[in-house]
Amino acid sequence: MKNLSLEEKEREFQAKIDADQKIEPNDWMPDEYRKTLIRQISQHAHSEIVGMLPEGNWITRAPNLRRKAVLLAKVQDEAGHGLYLYSAAETLGSDREKTIDDLNAGIAKYSSIFNYPTVTWADMGTIGWLVDGAAIMNQVPLCRCSYGPYARAMVRVCKEESFHQRQGFEIVMKLAQGTPEQKALAQESLNRWWWPALMMFGPNDANSKHTAQSMKWKIKRETNDELRQKFVDITVPQAEMIGLTIPDADLKWNEERQSYDFGAINWDEFMNVVQGNGPCNKERIAARREAKENGLWVREAANAFAEKRKARQAS
């Protein structure tokens, strides 16, 4: 194999990406590309794992057997997504337990939305409808991401997320068509989750520090603002269809753009939650840390047993 200079390697790498070829684990890649992906994929994995908590909060209180089973299946899917994603990150040389330790130490980030509390059953619907809806919007383009293992994991994740979004919308629809109390539950929940859901797409393009490079590397295929606009355009008619009101006085259809104009996002709130001051940041991290600490003796036992078995088989 010919000896290429760093510049030549980078040129070949970019040419491959420009030609829409996938980068695979054993291919050469710039350190920054690797780092960006590890950061993004593990944040994504952490989001799935932390995301189990707000929904897990309602499994034992689900209102009927069918809803309980569906919610269990959904939360189980999320654990599964976490597992694929940690595995995808491992193909880049990251270590799952080490990244989990970073999460528990408060170093690694995860989607801020999960730092909001789930206080009513309606939140199970709203999370599916808005949060999984926004996640799909973010993740569908990732199925075409330049890094092969991530793109392939996303194909499966997106299929399941689309089922999550539908079941969430169905919960909300049922409430919206129910008694006045149920309709009020749905509206109140939408009021709480709407703005945090819009924040899920990240800062405005002008303030997004990773966007330009990630677009060039095709890790990201659409900008934060483009995706947010798409989400608003799809979601507003859904709310209208079931008779709920989006809590935004500035929301209106823009005939010229064929798109909705919407109000300014409170980025101070976003930054505050990102910095650890959301209503549930402490609780979420404490729950993850507790799970890891309480499980230590179990993992140690499993390792010790595996060693013993290996030794017995060898003798």
Binding site: M52, I59, L72, A291, G295
Partner: protein, 252 residues
Amino acid sequence: MNREQALFEYTLRIADDSLILGHRVSEWCGHGPILEEDIAMTNIALDLVGQATNFLEYAAKVDGKGKTADDLAFLRYDRDYRNALLVEQKNGHFGDTMARQFFFDVFRKLFFEGLTKSTDETLAAIAEKSLKETKYHLKHSSEWVIRLGDGTEESHQKIQESINNLWRFTEELFFSNDVDTMLLESGIAVDLNALYPLWKSQVAHVLAEATLEIPSGTFQQKGGRTGFHSEHLGYLLAEMQYMQRAYPGMEW
């Protein structure tokens, strides 16, 4: 008590074991010792809730009072639940949960094997489906009992304590009364007396492999099958029934 009443009572026992244990196992969701266990335990909870649904639907039909499976799951009083005391016990640590699951799974596998031969076609059919799931649950729980028993000194000690603590609820799984007598005559019920020695020997086999001891001289608690529950069930039901009690008569 006529045959329908006996069949209703009998079906509730099976349904409530699944329902209450499913609830307990689901409490682990997001808090497991390792991600793979979060997936496994959520899956087991899902199977159990599914079994509960099938058996409760049948119970509602046998009952013939126009109730639904959800009515039975969410709107009975605690004294009307027929689950064994074992399944309502708190999760405790992972070893406690696995010991509880293991005792139950060994019982359940034997029980469903018997129930597939029931002359009641519905019970036999649900048993057939549930048996497949139960075999996986048993494989999972016995592997953990063995791993923890033969793992580290700490895990050995912990799981042995779990076994010792929960042993007092095991004989109740084989509780039978006139309900069983009536249904045994028509070949509907499973002969629990015949299962007990099999259960004991299968449990002993796994515990031996796990280097654990079988407790002896333990006083056996009973009550769940006749509606006399531990203090834990009330709290569990308060949580489980919350929505149906707070928003009566609504559809979700």
